[in-house]
Symmetry: C2
Subunit: 367 residues, 2 copies
Amino acid sequence: MGLPCLSEVFNFAAGPGVMPAAVLAQAQQEFLNWNGSGLSMLETPFTGEAFKAVLRQARDDLRALLNIPDNYHILFMHGGASAQFSLVPLNLLGGVDRADYVETGYWSRKNMREASRYCNVNIAASSSVTNFDRMPEAWRLDPDAAYCHITSNETANGVQFYDIPASGDLPLVADMTSDFLSRPLDVQRYGLIYAGAQKNIGPAGLTIVIVRDDLLGRAHPATPAVFNYQTQVEADSMLNTPLTYAVYLTGLVFRWIAETGGVTVMARNSEQRSARLYHAIDNSDGFYHCSVQPAYRSRMNVCFTLTHDALTPLFLSAAAAEGLLNLKGHPMAGGVRASLYNAMPETGVAALVNFMQHFTEEHRHHV
Amino acid sequence: MGLPCLSEVFNFAAGPGVMPAAVLAQAQQEFLNWNGSGLSMLETPFTGEAFKAVLRQARDDLRALLNIPDNYHILFMHGGASAQFSLVPLNLLGGVDRADYVETGYWSRKNMREASRYCNVNIAASSSVTNFDRMPEAWRLDPDAAYCHITSNETANGVQFYDIPASGDLPLVADMTSDFLSRPLDVQRYGLIYAGAQKNIGPAGLTIVIVRDDLLGRAHPATPAVFNYQTQVEADSMLNTPLTYAVYLTGLVFRWIAETGGVTVMARNSEQRSARLYHAIDNSDGFYHCSVQPAYRSRMNVCFTLTHDALTPLFLSAAAAEGLLNLKGHPMAGGVRASLYNAMPETGVAALVNFMQHFTEEHRHHV
């Protein structure tokens, strides 16, 4: 084994996660002198036309990538997705005292705990009885709820929605932090979509919010002005200083996705990468194990365990020594987690599968 | 004149503003491979020891720079200073229905408007009758207020507090966004200090909060968990994913300040830079004019007008052609504004003064 050769390092972190190499190379190249201005993008005032053009281009590119209809507004907000756990009820309840939540794992649970500080949380569906090994099928929507909230992909558990059940007349709200831009999306099925940037988009802190026009204007009076969807829509996401550097990097990522073929190609690549890894797990004669039902396995976060769990620390350290980094599972789940975001090259998965097979050969007889 | 030579570009933007060249150079150098990890800091997970060490070092360095006593907590928060306009009342009112605000210009006014959504705002002092050309001297504190809020430096008006009046038993709360780390600070006089990063600290979005221990635990129930000072204190600023890249850059800036001599040297340099520019304004035979009373003139944001205001657009475009960038005054104030943050080199001020003198010579006889 020995020290990793830098050219072979692969980052399987759940977030902040791997970014496209081409984006990082461009950002480094123009780090001190953006667009010939003589200034770093970090020093560029947000009130100038140069930055405003960057923000608007990023927004237009995102609209094109996902075919976002005109009656949806795209916001670049502060605070991360966890802030939205509070900001969704603050902005959308509009005086209604209840909301539906679908319980699918660690993150939806955190979300529901926070929402319950603002309203009665109706568990419209849950897979907790099967320890979140699948997405729930039967939904019991409360017709008096203000909205129905789902988490499209659970990073800690490794489950993902493929077919989104209909939410009837209720606005469907989705935390898409961990699979946003990894596949095509029928935006019209949703009332609100939000995503923290640090998975498939860009730097931690920036949050993309896509909100349908008719859901504006419902904010609770205690909502901070900078976190009120309507006031930020009216201010073009610049009511306060936006996350300028993050918006810039995000714009580069949007461009990279478009130039790579768009979200259809992202989806195909992501399906191939994850299928290869799940295949290796399922064909390890029980050395590795994934407890998620095949129809709900996440293409973003492949979570698995070593049947001989005592080997897990050795697996992780040996992987790191080979340049396969940040594979430790979420503390709640334990085991191993390989996050395969858009920027993960196929060679990264190949290297991981190869390592897993060698590790199996070396250690099968010791256990 | 002609096109600017890049080595002569100086950035006088009010924010995001100039950053130390040494910090940018280091960040560019290690952009793709931070600390030998093979990963960019942008891709480094916040849950790993490597990032946690960066955050803790930045916090310790800030504590040392300002001699922050142990009964004060330092937080790295999301949202920018404008979010704090709401989060201060949400966190500090603690059931009290009123707070004191000192009205000193554009930013304190915005702050008060937002605070008035949460409580009765008592104007404890104001300089509005003199059009904010000074800081108010006579304060009428409300003994039943939850706190007294000041804005230590007004970027749009160019006024700055030098002597902070005593706030008695009321916790003194200060928005120090635009002069934080530009001078020594007696932290013990304050209950709460906050500062958006994009002036003297680092990238837009990150907000430094310094809160005295006894002010925790008062948050309104509607306060989002990630914006509750107490929960973030308990979570070491990592209740949600922090602004990892901004925290890293901020740590580099703290180091740069320490290595340059600390806040005492920052203060001396800032005094010299601003004195040189105010001297040029005051000795222009009325060509330039600063309406702020000398005892209250900001060392961060030098705001002035051309007596023949019709020349202002030409002044700004000619300055930009010389590489003197982003000198346009705040829309509320008009005229010219030269922001002289910590990272502005003395040569930048020299170039600006030189340009102003030549501009005067060229245009005095035309007006």
